[in-house]
């Protein structure tokens, strides 16, 4: 599965355009994001709240379709592309 973090999140993955995630047990978008933070621990508190739910301000898309964390991925995420996007403007 490919994962792309854009907007303000790119800095947390050293501005890598695309990340590759191997995931045997990945069944949902939430599983994929939990697997991602194993490789990039700094993202844990950025993406997840204290109850380990995905924070609300992110725009998450699976293969271009807007989804939530419960959305099912293909078996093992094969051929899927997950995008996590955020835009935050100041006050």
């Amino acid at each position: 599965m490919k994962i792309k973090l854009s907007g303000n999140l790119a800095r947390f993955v050293n501005y890598k355009k695309e990340l590759q995630l191997e995931g045997e047990g990945i069944q949902t978008v939430g599983d994929a994001l939990h697997a991602l933070v194993v490789s990039y621990p700094v993202l844990k508190d950025i993406i997840f709240d204290k109850d380990r739910n995905v924070k609300k301000g992110y725009l998450i898309s699976l293969n271009g379709e807007k989804v939530d964390a419960a959305a099912q991925v293909s078996k093992g995420g094969e051929g899927d592309c997950l995008d996590v996007f955020t835009a935050i403007a100041g006050g």
Binding site: S6, G7, N8, K55, L59, G64, E65, D83, T86, G90
Partner: protein
């Protein structure tokens, strides 16, 4: 001034005496000395029902929603020569709305009644010299979890000088944003007034907290405070706050036309010269273009069609309003020359005040970046959907 513009007469009928006597007659001195609009004055407006428009019915309000509230603010901007007043009112009202959205009964019963009555006021302590992921302000919980020690520096707090309370956005022990309610008189809290280029009577201040101990009851949001801030402070206010500037821009156009009608050059009234007429037409188009976009944006919010956390239309409405009100003020100065430059004309002050909108809710270049990456992202998503269908 034509008080029937956009039905401003209804606001004039209720608040006109206060606006004329306590704001318009004293604006020059207040602006010159950067004197903030007092809570006592706001209380007088609150008593006449100014906060009622956008309050939920359960709190005695009319629940008119953002679109109608934006129109009230626009009329206030039109009628009040001191733009700081509607600006401050919009912040105070958003503070109340934020607390209501948090939904804590203990907090509501302790604070809301006096806030709604205008006896007290609140401000958002959000902005730092950093992006939201890099805030240095921190809250550290005590071992027993009953209190927090908070250190913070918030550089630009609109309405901070006269605020009794602050909504403080800090990082907790991890990189997660939390929101605390802070009292201006909590030990260790220092409010330092800042002198600004425009809107000088909003009482912009720097808020500093040094080892401030806060009871856990003051922690309003323990996690994901950033999303809450996006939804109930940053995003929902972005186009709303432009309305009062648009109202004042209309007043600037009217003032400019009145001057041009009474000024003769080369034996001709300035208003009869075609180039002058073209300039007025340009100002009119700029104003109405922005108004159309801003009110459309607010109506989308009411219809729940907008993105709650970052809405492109709200951001572009804010961007366009900034461009247009500043263009109108400069054009007015171009047309009125030395007279417009005098303090008593109000045009020079409007020129300064309108730059406040550049600074608030992100400057123009940042909004362009946000808009650009959003456009690229949306096209990427379209492309991915097509690719998936083909495979």
């Amino acid at each position: 001034m034509n008080v029937d513009w956009q039905g401003a007469g209804d606001i004039q009928a209720i608040f006109g005496t206060l606006i004329d006597k306590e704001l318009n007659c004293t604006v020059e001195e207040r602006d010159r000395l950067s004197i903030p609009i007092s809570n006592a004055l706001i209380e007088k407006f609150a008593r006449l029902g100014l906060y009622k428009y956008n309050l939920p019915a359960v709190w005695g309000g009319q629940e008119v929603g953002y679109a109608q509230w934006g129109r009230v603010l626009e009329k206030l901007g039109y009628l009040s020569a001191d733009l700081s007043f509607p600006f401050l009112i919009s912040v105070r009202m958003s503070f109340i709305s934020f607390l209501i959205a948090v939904g804590r009964e203990d907090i509501n019963s302790e604070y809301l009644v006096h806030l709604i009555e205008g006896k007290t006021g609140g401000a958002f302590a959000y902005t730092e010299d950093a992006d939201a992921f890099s805030f240095v302000s921190r809250a550290v919980p005590a071992a027993d979890g009953k209190t927090y020690t908070v250190n913070a520096v918030k550089k630009i707090v609109t309405g901070g000088e006269t605020a009794n309370y602050f909504l403080l956005f800090v990082h907790g022990d991890i990189a997660d944003m939390q929101v605390f309610l802070v009292h201006a008189d909590d030990p260790g809290v220092v409010v330092t007034p800042s002198v600004m280029h425009g809107c000088r009577s909003t009482g912009i201040a720097c808020l500093t907290l040094t080892d401030v101990r806060l009871d856990k009851q003051r922690l309003l949001l323990a996690t994901d405070g950033l999303s809450f801030a996006q939804r109930y402070f940053l995003n929902c206010r972005r186009s709303l706050q432009t309305t009062l500037f648009l109202g004042r821009a209309r007043a600037v156009i009217e003032t400019t036309v009145a001057y041009l009608q009474n000024t003769v050059r080369y034996d001709q009234q300035l208003i009869d010269m075609q180039h002058v007429q073209a300039c007025i037409g340009e100002m009119y188009m700029a104003l109405e273009s922005s108004r159309t976009l801003v009110h459309y944006s607010l109506e989308r919010q009411v219809r729940q069609e907008s993105d709650l956390y970052w809405d492109a239309v709200a951001s572009m409405a804010k961007y366009q309003a900034v461009e247009d009100v500043n263009k109108i003020a400069l054009q007015a100065l171009n047309l009125t020359g030395g007279w417009g430059y005098t303090e008593s004309s109000g045009i020079g002050r409007a020129h300064r005040d309108f730059t406040a909108l550049v600074a608030g809710a992100d400057p123009q270049e940042k909004l362009k970046v946000d808009m650009g990456i959003r456009m690229v992202h949306d096209l990427d998503m379209m492309s991915r959907r097509s690719s998936k269908k083909e495979s």
